[in-house]
């Protein structure tokens, strides 16, 4: 019996490894370079695709949002540095609701701004502080099926929930430093089964919570370099979930994207830069379009890359 189990395990390992190795991704488009013209970027952060597969990129150091079609053709952009409506001060995260409204975490203005798909300002919430309607450096944002907005309120050490008209709903997290046992969570995404997944970056792992903030499980461990195994991470940052429920993670100091099943098991991976050079490349934001195409931002290379799996 023991021998049978051992043999089965070995076979299963080879089958799994074979699947992993066979999985391929092909880069089908790449656009952007350093600069401030349309289609150029300065340290892009998060990225999101809408229902039509148009792509919105947070162009952080240009203090603006750029919108492209799925092939990288520039459509429009909005924003400049400032604190007025429609202006940004180092924006960070982005999410789109079911009606196509765009939500941006305007990080150093300590607020969330809501826009139409054309970039017209709709509303905002937040100022620096500890109140329910206040934020201290919001990072990632996400939208659930009911158009509830989730915000990582980084230095109030909590996740805040707002309605689509930016009314405060609730929050979770102890409010104390590292109170939710996370360390510098940066990105947030809703999984297919309705849980909240956070990239627990400095812990080199992902943490899954219920919508009410109950810890479901953690997965991932530290592993870096060419020998890093699937399921190991070095500062996982960007998150996305596909229609089929697979989870995509930018594993930024392994210069790769990892695709995991909804259960957290590694399915495949690919290098985004082809080489390990930490002063040239830096995969950060990630999104999956409805046709399964994967888009990432490279924070250092100031570009967007599109992959077909």
């Amino acid at each position: 019996m023991r021998k049978f189990v051992q043999t089965a395990l070995v076979v299963a390992t080879f089958v799994f490894a074979g699947l992993f190795v066979k999985a391929q991704s092909v880069q089908v488009a790449k656009w952007g370079e350093f600069g401030s013209k349309p289609g150029q970027f300065k340290f892009p952060t998060m990225i999101v695709a809408d229902k039509a597969s148009d792509i919105y990129v947070v162009d952080q150091h240009n203090h603006r949002i750029q919108k492209f079609d799925e092939n990288g053709n520039f459509i429009l952009m909005w924003g400049k540095q400032g604190s007025g409506n429609g202006e940004f001060n180092y924006p960070y995260g982005i999410a789109i609701d079911s009606k196509g409204f765009v939500y941006i975490s305007d990080m150093n203005n300590n607020r969330i701004q809501k826009f139409t798909a054309q970039g017209n300002f709709v509303a905002s919430v937040g100022s620096y502080g500890t109140g329910d309607d206040q934020l201290k450096y919001p990072y990632g944002v996400a939208i659930d099926d009911n158009d509830v907005l989730y915000v990582i309120d980084a230095f109030n050490y909590c996740i805040k929930k707002f309605s689509s008209d930016l009314k405060f709903l609730s929050k979770w997290g102890s409010g104390e430093s590292i109170g939710i046992k996370l360390y510098m969570p940066h990105e947030i995404v809703l999984t297919k089964d309705g849980n909240v997944l956070l990239s627990d970056r400095q812990n080199h792992r992902l943490s899954l919570f219920s919508k009410e903030g109950k810890l479901v499980k953690r997965f991932g461990e530290y592993g870096e370099g060419k020998d890093a195994k699937p399921g190991q991470f070095s500062e996982p940052h960007g998150l996305a979930v596909s229609n089929s429920g697979d989870i995509y993670v930018t594993d930024r100091y392994n210069f790769r994207v990892q695709k995991l099943g909804g259960d957290g098991q590694a399915k495949m991976q690919w290098l985004t830069s082809g080489i390990f050079e930490d002063d040239k490349y830096f995969p950060l934001g990630i999104t999956v379009a409805s046709d399964g195409s994967v888009f990432i931002t490279d924070h250092y290379a100031h570009c967007v890359q599109k992959y077909k799996l």
Binding site: F34, K42, F43, H61, N89, Y90, M107, N108, K136, Y137, A154, F155, S177, I178, K181, Y183, M184, Q202, N203, H204, R218, E221, Y222, E224, S234, E235, R252, Y253, D278, D279, F282, H299, Y300
Partner: protein, 309 residues
Amino acid sequence: MRKNDAIKNSEMKLLFFTVWLLLMLIFYSTHSFAQTNLKPRKCIMVFGAHADDVDENAGGTLAKYVAMGYEGIYVCAINNLDGCNLERTPWYDKGPNFTVSNSPHKYRVDALETSQIREEEARAAAAVYPAIPVFLNYKEPTFFIGRKLVYYGTEQYDAFDPPGRPLIPIATYMDDEVDSVYQLLVKYQPEIVITHTLGGEKMDHGNTAYLIYLAFKKAMQNNVPVGKLWMVVNGWLLDKDAQKSGRGVPDVHIDVKNYLKTKYTALNKHISQNGGLGRDYVMGNETQPKEVIEEFITVVDNTKPGTKK
């Protein structure tokens, strides 16, 4: 006739003396608050270059004066884009619930995040005394983008275009920048101002001191009631030969024995600097003999009549 002349003569002398007295009064009232009712407020302002320099340099003195009823102002000059290592925390090895990382390496945190973290730590430290936190937001000359150290003057520094006012050394040449510190002195009219040593230590520390010195002198010239400018004894001033020469010998000795607990509590708020284990982590468990007395050099004493403006 001679008698009348003598009376007239003495009247003239009296008139002359009265006019002279009035002129002198006007002169002194406009040139030194020490001769008038204008007096500094019971306020102590401590200027640190970075977030924890206030506590390091004069935390005990600040605590003592606040306890005596002085208003405490905790000023952080530079926006701390550099110098944050998240993995140095007290929870570093406390098991899976609090594991911060199983990485064998410790990496700096990105520039914008570092600035946010250290500002929050400074606010928490200021609240310990309690003192009013003020952030002057001058740029740091180095910072990290990912794991890459970026220096001022390089193409990458300019490309990143970090937030903040000019570098401190440059600010000392700019009237507007000196004026912004001067306006703080106008606002608080402090009896005691403490900062780093002029030219005594790191460039940004020494230049912070120079900026404060320039603003202090401007306050004096404009008859703003500021009291004494103290500088920490540090750098070359601690050199034995320099001490022998009579330079670098402190003339202010503040016994802070009863305020060390407050000072250390404040220091412990700078988790990114000392792992949350505070000074014990950095300096060992025993109180250092020098810490019981905080010492300063009086650089300017505007409370003395006839102090040169």
